[in-house]
Symmetry: C2
Subunit: 133 residues, 2 copies
Amino acid sequence: MIRISKKVEYALMALKFISQSDNKLVTAREISDTKKIPYDLLSKILQKLKNENILLSNQGTNGGYSLNKRTDEIYLFNLMNMLDGDIALADCMHETKEKECSLEDSCSIKSEVAKLQKEVEDVFKNKTISDFV
Amino acid sequence: MIRISKKVEYALMALKFISQSDNKLVTAREISDTKKIPYDLLSKILQKLKNENILLSNQGTNGGYSLNKRTDEIYLFNLMNMLDGDIALADCMHETKEKECSLEDSCSIKSEVAKLQKEVEDVFKNKTISDFV
DNA sequence: TCAAATAGGACTATATTAGTCCAAATTAGA
DNA sequence: TCTAATTTGGACTAATATAGTCCTATTTGA
């Protein structure tokens, strides 16, 4: 199916929320409560975004998260790759071909699927968080 | 994740195969053998395509399938809808909103996701089987 | 030293996708 | 008219991916 995962959905909501909390640190709990996002799942997502340098974090009392990039520097395409792994319309389209396609020899549609993949990627490469704010 | 299902993948291969077998009826077994596609699954797909008037079928000995439309009249977008159900980047994007979104009230990204969905749909609406042949 | 917060591993549950099995109906041809 | 080739289609199982939970450790400000 063609869909955006919950992880990415939640990340978009969280990033938008943080971007609108001018410079104040925002806690996972705040976002979870306001946006009705499962706390533990959201925590994981925020941690990931921190590790990917999208967010800055402060531990401990009064801690929280803040943006480490401008909203127009955060591409949806990259978020999707970070959170869901690389986008591959078919198994043979993974960047690192960890999954060999058993149809390889008989497959007759690969090159066109590759084009398609590029076009879909372009849609996501042309969206940043600023489009959602 | 953003991916094309096996069903659609197999449908593309099968339709391409049939379109290249000039007018001769093609059996599910032939396609399955040549393209290494699980027979039962392929059968289901061909049946579906027949019910959707993409294919014509003849039962019995010497039976098989043939195209009921020109390749440039068969849109990838429609294939995907037939085989996988309607494309919805997020739950709230289903045409028939059978799945209510529990975040509805707190959701702040819906309108932008809708735009995104339209752009992705357009990619698939602009591809037909003739692009794969 | 306590409470608020992030960090992160391990696990479970749910949903989706892929694939299999079986029996029925149809039909051409021997 | 019998048989084999074929489509038809329901019911089921298996595999995989996604979503969500639980628990404990670490950091830090007051």
